[in-house]
């Protein structure tokens, strides 16, 4: 589904990531940990082609990212839902329009009942008409998750999704991600919150990847 083959990335100075080789199998659940600035966000951006590798090959759905035209990248992103810590919205559009945005840009109509179900699932059923600036941090994260899943993507990438949330809200968001994984979605969550990882491992067979010395390795049982 997503494969890295000896991938490196540099922003112009030294390499932030080096010799990354891994495969994200369909239906897997991965956590990616590491200190701030270690390259977690860079790894995720490589996963949805916002960044291109400076060395090696990244393959998305059996296609090498460097061979993708801009329109191909756009179509590829419809199969990958992304949730950022500072999730951005179109502030002039209500929440419902923001959540259905991936459908609109791909020329598909949003069913009213499906949208209501989705917003109810993330606990935002009453806020469909609210504008994003009026939402709390937790509400924005859940809205971003709803937007990320509305296209029925194969992969969901979450970059520090609980960074601005309290523990209760973090667990709620984690539960939603676990539910999606049980529906067959491939999940990758970048986080430095070890308690969140421990909670997840109690619910799902999650693997933990750790960035150390620019390389990504499978974390041991110390987590």
């Amino acid at each position: 589904m997503i494969a890295f083959d000896n991938v490196a990335h540099s922003y112009g100075g030294g390499e932030l990531l080096s010799e990354v080789t891994l495969r994200l199998a369909p239906g897997s659940f991965h956590f990616l940990t590491g200190p701030s600035g270690a390259g977690k966000s860079t790894f995720l951006k490589l996963c949805y082609a916002e960044l291109l590798p400076t060395a090696g090959r990244v393959t998305l759905f059996d296609r090498e990212v460097r061979s993708l035209a801009r329109d191909d990248v756009a179509r590829m992103r419809r199969r990958i839902g992304v949730v950022h810590q500072d999730c951005q919205f179109l502030d002039h559009l209500p929440l419902a329009a923001n959540v259905t945005l991936p459908l609109l840009v791909s020329g598909r109509a949003a069913g009213a009942q499906d949208l209501a179900d989705l917003l109810g699932w993330v606990g935002l059923g009453q806020l469909a008409a609210a504008l994003p600036p009026s939402l709390s941090g937790g509400e924005r994260q859940r809205a971003a998750l709803a937007r990320a899943v509305i296209m029925g993507p194969d992969v969901i990438l979450a970059d520090e999704p609980t960074g601005n949330l309290d523990w209760e809200m973090s667990l709620r968001l984690l539960t939603l991600l676990v539910e999606l994984n049980k529906m067959g979605k491939t999940i990758v969550v970048a986080t430095h919150d070890l308690n969140l990882i421990r909670s997840a491992k109690a619910q799902v067979a999650a693997r933990v990847l750790r960035i150390k010395n620019r390389r990504i390795q499978l974390a041991g049982a110390d987590l």
Binding site: Y48, A49, E50, L51, L52, R70, D71, V73, A74, R75, M76, R77, R78, V82, Q88, F89, L90, D91, H92, L93, A97, L101, P102, L104, V105, S106, R147, M151
Partner: protein, 299 residues
């Protein structure tokens, strides 16, 4: 490309149009620029058309007339006048010839010397007005015959007057055309700047759209349609104001002089109506180019 323009304008994707916020300083800037530039273009167009008409009128008026001037001693003037009229009457290509009376000549000189000019006390040459037929006459042959029959007669076929007038009117027309080109180019530049500013101000919108899988053409269309319609509306207002201004110009007879005929006549009134369409086309291409150039900077 034209099909894309028509599709964007007449079969709009209303969802694409909504993703860009309506407010912003670029909105009024685009409309105002289009309105102001079209307003100026209407006057430049009026000047261009008027200059063309003026050139044609001057050329036509001078091309079919000539003057024979008789400067002779007082006792010879009448004799030579009759001789010249005789020559002219038998010259092929001359439709009519008429010696101006003292009253006619006094009327010609009145604007410069006043109505009380003592014509008989001044050595003013006798003038004969010659009207050509459409075929025209052999001016060199006529000069030779006049020299033989009336030594004091000089033929002025208006060539030396006609040429600089035609050149001046042609240059005036060229100047107006260049002005229109400059105005439209400036409008394109201003709209491009406004589009770039709008794209920069909506960086978050573009990032979000790219993140959720929007293709460049979808994002560009949202901006292009907005700017095209703003330019069309602004330009329509500018054209209407310009046409009103031209319509309110003083009438030709009242204004006289150079201003005679400045404005639109007959089918000319259709031309300024094309300016908003042209402004929309310019805005479409300027915004589309700016949008795709900006989007290529993003991953």
């Amino acid at each position: 490309m034209i099909r894309a323009l028509l599709a964007d304008l007449f079969k709009p994707d209303r969802h694409a149009a909504r993703v860009v916020p309506r407010a912003g300083h670029t909105a009024w800037l685009t409309s105002f620029t289009a309105a102001a530039m079209t307003f100026l273009a209407v006057f430049a167009l009026a000047l261009s058309l008027a200059a063309g008409r003026l050139a044609e009128r001057w050329s036509a008026a001078l091309a079919h007339t000539a003057t024979v001037r008789i400067a002779a001693p007082a006792d010879q003037v009448e004799i030579q006048t009759r001789a010249v009229l005789g020559v002219l009457a038998t010259t092929p290509g001359i439709a009519a010839a008429r010696a101006l009376s003292d009253a006619d000549q006094r009327a010609l000189l009145a604007p410069w010397f006043g109505p009380d000019l003592p014509l008989e006390a001044l050595p003013i040459p006798r003038l004969i007005e010659v009207t050509e037929d459409p075929v025209g006459y052999d001016s060199e042959g006529l000069r030779q015959r006049l020299a033989a029959e009336a030594p004091g007669a000089v033929l002025d076929d208006h060539t030396r007057w006609r040429r600089p007038l035609a050149v001046a009117a042609g240059r005036l027309r060229l100047l107006a055309a260049v002005s229109i080109a400059l105005i439209l180019t400036t409008m394109a530049a201003m709209i491009t700047l406004a589009a770039n500013a709008a794209l920069a101000a909506n960086g978050q919108v573009i990032r979000v759209l790219r993140l959720v899988g929007a293709r460049d053409v979808y994002i560009a269309r949202a901006f292009v349609r907005r700017f095209t319609l703003r330019a069309l509306a602004g330009s329509a207002v500018g054209a209407a104001a310009g046409m009103l201004g031209v319509a309110l110009l003083p009438a030709a007879d009242a204004a006289g002089g150079f201003l005679t005929g400045l404005g639109f006549q007959g089918a000319d009134w259709v031309l300024p109506l094309l300016l908003p369409v042209l402004a929309a086309v310019i805005a479409f291409f300027a915004t589309r180019l700016a949008a795709f150039r900006k989007l290529k900077e993003l991953t």
